[in-house]
């Protein structure tokens, strides 16, 4: 079914006979008709929406936008949490030849106006009154917008503004248009060209303002073609959509994997309920960022600490047995029958239940990416029977660039390049990528594009190495490399991901560039550290006093000492400080996927950092 062409040739890539996302979408909707495409929780009850709903709403929204003046090649921005309307508008825009641009709901009004203006958006979709207020705050700065369309009417019944309309009105407008010209939408779909841009994904600019990466129909079709055969996804699968759809990873998983295999996508209610939703949905495949996998692991660790001695003993034995089996499998060695029998017993008594509690009893494959994950964590998941595989990619590679799979897994590496692409390491260690998934450039920034794509290779900005087995290992970001005052090059990511394996450490940033020694700033895991303090009778009131408690400081010190054991002397952390403010995704220091941003952290907590070098 796939005929992925070699990079550099001119034949368009097709998947299932479709060369554009628009035509693939049309084909899938026709095939699947009344089957369930999406599920969303409404007042606590899961409701289903079919592929017909998907197609009809995309058509109506698309034709409605055309009535309002959307032309091919124009940009539509969406500022909303994940919900089905997000995808309806996405497909509406793409089928009408427009370009979709997602904006994070955690972005401020000022960031919104930058993104809307930089992308030349003509329409802005906002989720609700809260997001609408952001637009109202900066409306005068965004003269290019023709209409603001609101998904949710709640709290806005009294509101009226000539520039603002509601989603159901847009749908009504589109229905009228569809009756007048029933063939218009199909005509627009047919007009799509593989090289047309279909989305902008703004990369979090750690240096300079964010840049909009342009991805084309053929980029996405290539991504589906290359990844699908080895991903083992079936039509009957359930998926959970919870990472922001503005992020290329969730978009690939929830939009394009779905178009590839017609799986059902379930929307999580909110960021706080992901784990409950995970249990309810019990997905067959689950792709998340390391933070989520770390969190699930620490929850199990904490539950273990609170369990009865028998329960604890059983869990430990079960995981140890699972670990022995996973180790042999990792080395490709046969598992002896005695071990296999023991494993089956523990699987029956403990591991099966554990997976059910986590909502992973049906899970065939877990995926992790977008940030480094510690190999120990991957092994732990394999030990409990969750096949978790690490992949690597960037916005600029339309999502996935390399991945591990069931057939081919090298633990600790990010796997091999997706079929039909090449990866090589430049002399300075930078990872270079070539293939049909490499993006079309940055929106209106040809100079930045020229810096990133040189001599036909995408310069990722990541450093890594390729092993003899052909698997890629990432060591960090090129600009994150720490050169200590002693002249030693250190890639902090390895140490950081090892630190994050501790259930008490949520994230950490290693400091030490042009300094005498390494230090680190630690963001503690509030829930687990609170439980620790409570069980040790360590008094604390708010978050700051928790961080200040001697016992908590000692706890983190012992975690750091344990990590230090694994590294050479120059790579050892000499001192640390805790960030005693509870950070949220709205804070500059955190990305929407809750990773600490090195540059912002270094700047905002400069006094704290300096205090570690004061002596």
């Amino acid at each position: 079914m796939a005929d992925g062409s070699a990079p550099g040739t001119l034949d368009p890539v097709t998947f299932d006979g479709c060369a554009t996302v628009a035509s693939l979408f049309q084909k899938r909707c026709r095939e699947n008709g009344g089957r369930i495409a999406h599920r969303e929780k409404d007042l606590g009850i899961w409701k289903s929406y079919s592929w017909d709903d998907y197609y009809n709403h995309a058509q109506w929204a698309g034709l409605g936008l055309a009535r309002l003046g959307l032309e091919r090649g124009q940009v539509v921005s969406i500022l909303s949490e994940d919900r089905r309307e997000w995808l309806y508008v996405d497909m509406a825009t793409v089928c009408m030849g427009g370009i979709t641009n997602g904006v994070y709901t955690t972005d401020s009004a000022a960031q919104l106006s930058y993104l809307v203006n930089d992308s030349d958006s003509v329409f802005l979709f906002v989720e609700n009154d809260e997001q609408l207020d952001k637009w109202l705050e900066v409306r005068d700065d965004m003269p290019g917008l023709r209409k603001i369309i609101v998904f949710d009417r709640d709290g806005l019944r009294e509101f009226s503004d000539p520039l603002v309309m509601f989603f159901d009105d847009l749908i009504a407008l589109g229905r009228e248009a569809a009756e007048e010209a029933p063939d218009r939408f199909d005509g627009e779909i047919a007009a799509a060209q593989p090289d047309d841009i279909l989305m902008l994904v703004y990369t979090s600019g750690t240096t300079g303002p964010p840049k909009g990466a342009m991805l084309s129909h053929s980029n996405m079709i290539f991504q589906i073609t290359a990844a699908m055969p080895s991903l083992d996804v079936h039509q009957s699968d359930e998926q959970l959509c919870f990472l922001p759809l503005c992020h290329v990873l969730e978009r690939v998983v929830s939009t394009y994997v779905q178009l590839g295999c017609s799986v059902t996508v379930n929307f999580s209610e909110s960021a706080e309920t992901v784990f409950e939703n995970l249990q309810e949905v019990s997905p067959h495949t689950f792709t998340a960022v390391p933070r989520v996998w770390e969190k699930i692991y620490s929850t199990v660790q904490i539950t273990r600490a609170e369990a009865t001695p028998v329960g604890r003993w059983a869990l430990d034995r079960a995981i140890r047995t699972g670990m022995s089996k996973a180790q042999l499998e990792e080395l490709g060695k046969p598992v002896p029958p005695a071990l296999m029998t023991r494993y089956r017993v523990w699987e029956f008594l403990v591991l099966r239940n554990l997976r059910r509690i986590l909502g992973m009893d049906r899970l065939r494959r877990g995926g992790t990416g977008a940030a480094p994950i510690s190999p120990e964590l991957l092994r732990w998941y394999h030990a409990i029977g969750v096949r978790l595989y690490e992949g690597y990619g960037a916005t600029e590679t339309s999502g996935v660039a390399t991945f591990n799979s069931d057939q081919d897994n090298v633990m600790g590496s990010v796997g091999k390049p997706v079929p039909g692409t090449s990866v090589r390491i430049a002399e300075d260690g930078e990872i270079l990528v070539q293939g049909g998934h490499v993006f079309q450039g940055y929106w209106k920034k040809p100079d930045k594009t020229a810096e990133t794509i040189r001599d036909g290779w995408l310069h990722t900005g990541d450093v890594g190495r390729i092993g003899n087995d052909g698997a890629l290992t990432i060591t960090g970001r090129i600009k994150d490399i720490i050169i200590t005052a002693g002249g030693k090059n250190i890639t902090p990511a390895e140490i950081e991901s090892r630190l994050k394996f501790s259930p008490f450490v949520s994230d950490a940033v290693i400091i030490g560039d042009k300094r005498k020694y390494l230090t680190c700033l630690v963001m503690i895991d509030q829930e687990n550290v609170e439980k620790f303090a409570q069980s040790r009778a360590v008094p604390f009131s708010d978050f700051a006093s928790l961080c200040a408690a001697t016992e908590v400081q000692e706890l983190i010190r012992s975690e750091i000492d344990a990590v230090n054991q694994e590294f050479a002397r120059v790579e050892q952390i000499k001192d640390f400080r805790l960030i005693d403010i509870l950070l949220t995704a709205e804070d500059d220091e955190l990305t929407p996927t809750m990773k600490l941003k090195r540059s912002f952290v270094e700047e905002k907590h400069k006094a704290l950092i300096d205090s570690m070098y004061a002596a």
Binding site: D129, G155, E530, Q534, A537, P539, S541, D542
Partner: protein
Amino acid sequence: MSKTVLEINNLETFYGPIMALRGVSLRVEEGQIVTILGANGAGKSTLLKTISGVMDPEKGDILLDGKPIQKQDPDRIVRAGVAHVPEGREVFPFLSVAENLAMGAYTRSDTDAIPNDIEMVYDYFPILGERRDQQAGTLSGGQQQMLAIGRGLMTKPRVMLLDEPSLGLSPILIKEIFEIIRRLNTEMGVTMMLVEQNANVALHVADYGYVLEIGRIVMAGEAQKLLASEDIQEFYLGVTGETQRGQKRWKRRKTWR
């Protein structure tokens, strides 16, 4: 250097399987008014009940002047110096005002000083003096609240626990009662722990405050600092940020800083 009268460490209290206090630690210094803010069900009253011995904690210490008092019977805790002015006054309705006050002094052995102290209460609450022979049940809500506070004072407490003194009172009465609370504190040096829904008056009278949410302290600080916090302003003082629309339904995300 002020002295810590009441120190609470990692207090956990349950209602059956429900954990109402999830590790609360706080301290009250001598002569201070400390307020505990929180929504309904946050655990404020549970905290006071646990201190005064009406409920027993599962875990944690309560130190009065450095001596543990947790899990003791309420009468011993009263004798140790904790006066609990409960939510909803709970005066003895069929006893007179004077008898109610005398009940407050029940645990005291210095009987000579009691009439003096009763006069002192009448000084602070003249209306109680006027109605000293009236049945307490026939007093108005505000007068009953005054009586409950007066009865608490009669134990000569080291620390007085006030559970929502503003409950069900008119704004003018709330002002009056809090004025007296402030006077008791400044003139008599009564140390108080004040639980309130009415964050505005509580923070204006208190020196220090804690915010309790679902059984856990999420914010602590000088009353002035809390008053200035955006979260307190929006969630407890009802100050909503201006929006272009002139109305705002959504709430900001709490950050407690």
